[in-house]
Symmetry: C2
């Protein structure tokens, strides 16, 4: 995803109507080179400052969930009262700095391939997520 008309097209192709709210959110989330980690609350605050017209919190929740369902966002499993999302939907892992609560991407080649030796009958592996908690090195 890159510019307004591309966003419109992408949204339409995904079966999502290209509303101005969705396009605003796309522009903010996907016009960037680096990955971006956020909670819905944070995203809402940032967009409120950035934009003249306010997008309601409910819409941001709806949109983030739609985007996740369509595969444009990934939800990150850390233990928290809030849900974290990631604009990097590729197969990758995370550092979580427990002192600052900051998330940092770990590229796939920075973690040696995790191999699982156990099998559960009738089940297949859907994803493997590695969370590396780091702390100040005193």
């Amino acid at each position: 995803m890159n510019n307004n008309s591309t966003f419109k097209e992408k949204l339409r192709l995904s079966g999502l109507r290209p509303t101005k709210q969705r396009i605003e959110i796309c522009k903010f989330l996907f016009n960037r080179r680096d990955t971006f980690h956020f909670t819905v609350g944070e995203l809402s605050k940032i967009l409120r400052k950035k934009n003249s017209e306010k997008i309601s919190l409910a819409t941001i929740y709806n949109t983030v969930h739609s985007f996740k369902k369509k595969g444009y966002l990934k939800e990150i499993s850390i233990n928290s009262d809030k849900s974290y999302f990631d604009t990097n939907t590729s197969d990758h892992h995370h550092f979580l700095d427990v002192n600052t609560n900051q998330l940092i991407d770990l590229k796939n080649n920075e973690v040696r391939k995790v191999s699982i030796k156990k099998k559960i009958p009738g089940k297949k592996i859907k994803s493997i997520e590695v969370l590396v908690k780091i702390e100040n090195d005193n």
Copy 2:
């Protein structure tokens, strides 16, 4: 931890007064061979059925947090609106069955050692948690 007097002693040694609520909770959580995964809400319901005298929800929250702080329980990082705890405090990982929402322990020798190639200056690794999501194998 094994029986009542051992629990009392352990609690005292940890700097926690051996109240009857804490001993009840110890008995339920730690008198078992297999690991047990639970949320505070679930634990509360089970104890309410099991025991004659009710333990208040606030106490169960307090106790679970104390036990976690003392290292008798581990909190599991899955993305959920609830917090999951594990009686297995050893270094190990988890399967999460996304169809049933069930957690299954993965022994350490069932996952090939995860090696992290990236370093963050001034930070050290505190823990490495692997969550393997599994689903029905249709």
